[in-house]
């Protein structure tokens, strides 16, 4: 099954308030309405977040102390740009590495105090300091490649799932068609936000027809007789004879 066949899919009516049956190419398939809508929403939201539209920064009411090991502190320094881009704003005391206070802290083996001033707000959900630590860890693991923080992905996934059309929602045929139409435009149209399938093919109609033709060929011993009717050979003699017998 591929994306192209989905392009020309014919949408049937909703089944059991859960699935949308489609005929794509020669295949009958059902689409999970929830998974499909979740995928559509996920890509919408992702686009929004990446473009910065749904990304805000929330300043905390009270500054929060970040407890980081020394290595975390260094990471914070080296990846300051990425972190700030996503909206975590830290107030690092002893920003200047040469400052006396920092050296003193080092000397006393005391963890450096970092105050978290603001956190990212993705689609209305505030991320936390723990999410920051996690992001730092990911940056460290990958030499600072610019992927989306895992916490943001989590928010995206759960938001996509929450707002999507649910199982058991009754849909009109036009609404079903709309969902399938949107699904065609998603880039990963066959899986939902959590990696589960959106579409399950049921049967290839072409092979089904062939199979039925084959089985009926085997079982059909009534030589085409259907309720006592079948096509007889067409010839003049027969027509003549039939007319004769009818006349007398």
């Amino acid at each position: 099954m591929n994306k192209n066949s989905l392009k020309e899919a014919i949408v049937l009516q909703q089944i059991d308030k859960k699935y949308i049956p489609i005929v794509a190419g020669k295949t009958l398939a059902v689409v999970d309405q929830h998974a499909a809508d979740e995928r559509i929403r996920l890509e919408e939201l992702r686009q929004k977040v990446l473009s910065g539209e749904a990304k805000e920064i929330t300043f905390l009411d009270a500054e929060k102390e970040l407890m980081l090991p020394e290595i975390g502190h260094q990471l914070l320094h080296s990846y300051a740009k990425e972190i700030k881009e996503w909206g975590w704003i830290c107030n690092i005391h002893a920003q200047d590495s040469k400052s006396f206070k920092r050296n003193l802290n080092l000397l006393h083996n005391r963890p450096t105090v970092i105050k978290l001033v603001a956190v990212p707000c993705i689609l209305g959900v505030n991320l936390s300091d723990i999410d920051l630590t996690e992001f730092l860890q990911q940056l460290a693991d990958t030499d600072g490649s610019s992927t989306i923080p895992p916490s943001v992905l989590r928010v995206l996934n759960s938001k996509a799932c929450r707002g999507a059309i649910m199982f058991g929602d009754a849909l009109l045929h036009s609404e079903c068609s709309l969902i399938i139409e949107e699904l065609k435009h998603t880039s990963l149209c066959f899986q939902c936000a959590h990696g589960r399938p959106t579409t399950a093919p049921l049967v290839n109609l072409e092979t089904l027809h062939k199979q039925i033709a084959k089985t009926t060929l085997h079982t059909d011993d009534s030589n085409g007789l259907w309720h006592g009717l079948r096509r007889h050979e067409l010839n003049v003699e027969r027509a003549e004879q039939r007319l004769m017998s009818a006349s007398c």
């Binding site: 308030k17 005929v23 936000a193 579409t199 049921l202 009926t216 006592g228």
Partner: protein
């Protein structure tokens, strides 16, 4: 007491003299170094195989005993070792691959330190058998602690070099013991060889346990990497790979070329497999691995443990190969940039490569088309979501239908060109047909008809009856299959078969009580028969047959004319005195048959119906009517999808309109779409679908007694159950 001891220790630390610094004995140095280079048996195998590859071998065979502790034997067909070099072969820091330190910047060979073989001799017994090109015989020599144990002995040899390492770590008891307890050294060696095998596709590798007949890795030199992966890692990986390529030639950021194969999202594994070669060197790069893992889990949560093969080529001067004792890691210029580039490439590849998804073919057990309903089905409660339509009392059902003005007009529209109804069915006639339905006995005043009806009732398949009574129509899956839901199952039902049967049964039930459809243009039976005959034998020698056909048509018309009274009385098929068909029965209210099928029906009456026996005669006429009234796909091909081609290429000539078929021989070829015909076809198909949904299925629910034969002739096919679908989709 404890305090006192602490003080003691401190005092000791403070007051003790610093220890003397001594120069270590050379054998100690060598053994320490050896322990570092040869960490496990697998590192020895890696060094030896890399030597073989450096010697331009085309085949490398590895035999291992006891996870490599007893024996490691690597045999290649490379260029061999010179006799003169044998004395210093296993000394430390002797190599053929490097002469000055600057060479290291442009090193192409895998070895360069001249330590591997030497290290092995310090921790194991090494025996080398080698022959170089053009020599008559080879030499064999054993080494210990870097030097030959005896003069090289002449011996028979095949091309290349064979190195045996026996009793590895015999002099390092701690390591030997830990390794003896761990069982996975052999699998590590197999894994190593597998990795080499898929990168060096032109070299054939094999790896086996000592004494085993079967090799655990066996690759023959192939040109395709995917083939190599298939033979080493298996089909399931090989068929789920995507090619990926990248290059960058920007001196300011990074210069590299990468090509590789990565698994798609059909691939599911327990853990990530990453085979990475940088400048042909098998290395680990945790940061890249982790970065790709993150991409996978973010994009394809289900396939988050990928299989990745990558070969990255950089200018040698950008790679520092000498950063790890076993050369497991290298350091690169601009690592971050390269990671980022590869990562984003993989991500976009994953996002866009999703257009094909292979699904495991669902197996429809052949019996499922037969036993559409097993007994347990009746135990299952109907799904609570109320998929079942409420049972509508018979009379109300009819009223609902006829109060749907849009639908009614629709149903009549199609007949306009051919016929018009004998007055729109008034409530009176509807009432009479409903009354008739209430008392079916009233109809059957002939025993033969009664018998036929009893046959139908007696032959009815109970579970199929349950399906048709309570099914919900979902839609047309293709030209003949309608998708139905019944309880928790989905069925495909053959509309043609169903409607045929329904019409047949309706004819018998309404026997002699039909309302009439008046044809606007009475059609000559003879002409109709001629048309049908023409279509029947489509062979090109039609001209010869024309006379015969005409004779047949004449006689068959005469025959039907004789039967006209009976046809009129019982079946409402009115034939006027000139042999024209003027009236047809209403078999199903609101439904007029496809007039394109009249010729075939007339031929059927004339040629196939047996008029002698009352019962078989009625039955055959009913069957002929059933076949005629059934909801066949319209003659014009379905304009959606492939059918559209028909309207682009062929334009049938006007006079042929009634019987044209896709193979109509009078067709004039034009390339543009015939819009008139196309819209005609579109209406025909739309009307048919409308009739199926709004006329056929309501009627089937009420009247059809499905015969047992429908259970196994492909009329009903169960395609899925909702419980199973639920499992397929799981839940979020």
């Amino acid at each position: 007491m404890a305090d006192a001891m602490e003080v003691d220790l401190q005092e000791e630390r403070v007051f003790k003299d610093p220890p003397n610094i001594r120069r270590l004995d050379e054998t100690v140095v060598n053994r320490i170094a050896a322990g570092e280079v040869i960490q496990r048996p697998v590192s020895a195998v890696k060094e030896l195989v890399e030597n073989s590859l450096d010697a331009h071998s085309s085949s490398v065979n590895v035999v291992v005993k006891d996870g490599g502790l007893k024996l490691i034997q690597v045999t290649d067909d490379g260029h061999g070792i010179r006799y003169e070099d044998l004395p210093i072969l296993c000394e430390r820091h002797t190599t053929s691959k490097l002469s000055t330190f600057e060479d290291l910047q442009s090193i192409k060979s895998m070895g360069f330190r001249g330590e591997a073989l030497a290290s092995m001799t310090y921790v194991g017994h090494v025996t080398v058998t080698t022959i170089t090109k053009g020599q008559l015989h080879g030499y064999r020599v054993s080494y210990k602690d870097g030097v030959m144990e005896h003069e090289p002995k002449a011996c028979a040899a095949v091309k290349g070099t064979q190195i045996m390492v026996e009793n590895l770590f015999y002099n390092m008891s701690a390591r030997r013991k830990t390794l003896q307890n761990s069982a996975d050294d052999y699998s590590k060696i197999v894994d190593l060889l597998s990795r080499f095998a898929i990168h060096h596709t032109s070299v054939s590798f094999s790896c086996r346990k000592h004494g085993a007949a079967r090799a655990d890795v066996h690759s023959v030199g192939t040109r395709s990497r995917v083939d190599a992966i298939r033979s080493v890692y298996g089909v399931s990986i090989a068929q789920n790979l995507m090619k990926i390529e990248a290059s960058d030639n920007d001196l300011s950021s990074s210069v590299f070329k990468m090509d590789g194969l990565i698994s798609n999202f059909n691939f599911v594994a327990k853990k990530i497999t990453m085979v990475l070669f940088i400048n042909d060197r098998l290395v680990e790069w945790t940061a890249l691995k982790r970065a790709l893992e993150i991409v996978y889990s973010a994009t394809l949560p289900k396939a988050s443990k990928p299989f990745i093969y990558m070969s990255i080529v950089l200018p040698p001067e950008h790679v520092d190969v000498n950063v790890h004792p076993t050369k497991r890691e290298v350091s690169l210029l601009n690592q971050e940039v390269i990671i980022e580039k590869i990562q984003s490439l993989v991500e976009s590849k994953l996002r866009n490569s999703n257009d094909t998804r292979t699904f495991q073919e669902q197996t429809i057990e052949p019996s499922s088309s037969g036993q559409v309903c097993s007994l347990k089905d009746s135990d299952i409660n109907p799904s609570p979501s109320g998929s079942k339509p409420p049972k509508v009392p018979v009379h109300k059902m009819v009223r609902t239908d006829s109060s749907d003005p849009a639908g009614r007009l629709h149903a009549y529209m199609q007949t306009k060109s051919h016929s018009h109804l004998d007055g729109i069915s008034s409530l009176t006639s509807v009432r009479s047909s409903i009354r008739q339905r209430r008392n079916p006995k009233e109809t059957a005043d002939l025993t033969s008809i009664q018998e036929l009806i009893d046959d139908i009732d007696g032959n009815s398949h109970s579970s199929l009856l349950d399906i048709v009574r309570h099914c919900t129509y979902v839609g047309m899956a293709d030209d003949v299959f309608a998708l139905l839901q019944h309880d928790t199952h989905l069925y495909l039902a053959n509309v043609v078969n169903l409607s045929k049967e329904l019409m047949y049964q309706q004819v018998l039930r309404r026997f002699a009580h039909f309302n009439a459809i008046e044809l606007s243009n009475p059609a000559s039976l003879k002409e109709l028969t001629m048309l049908a005959l023409k279509e029947e034998n489509l062979n090109p020698e039609c001209a010869v047959n024309d006379d015969l056909n005409e004779k047949i048509a004449e006689m068959s018309t005469a025959l039907l004319k004789q039967k006209r009274e009976m046809l009129e009385e019982y079946f409402c098929i009115h034939i006027d005195i000139d042999g024209n068909l003027t009236r047809l029965p209403v078999v199903l209210d609101q439904y007029t048959p496809d007039m394109d099928r009249v010729p075939d029906f007339v031929l059927c009456l004339g040629n196939d119906v047996d008029w002698e026996n009352e019962k078989t005669c009625f039955q055959a006429i009913a069957a002929a009517l059933g076949n005629f009234y059934a909801m066949h796909p319209p003659m014009l091909p379905n304009p959606t999808g492939d059918g559209l081609k028909f309207y682009e290429k062929k334009r049938p000539s006007e006079n042929n309109e009634d019987i044209e078929t896709p193979s109509g021989d009078n067709a004039i070829m034009t390339t543009e779409i015939d819009n008139g015909l196309l819209s005609e076809a579109e209406t025909a198909w739309a009307q048919r679908e409308w009739s199926i949904q709004h006329i056929l299925f309501p009627a089937i629910k009420l009247f059809l007694k499905p015969p047992a034969s429908m259970a196994n002739n492909g009329t009903f096919v169960r395609v899925a159950s909702l419980e199973k679908l639920y499992k397929i989709f799981e839940r979020c």
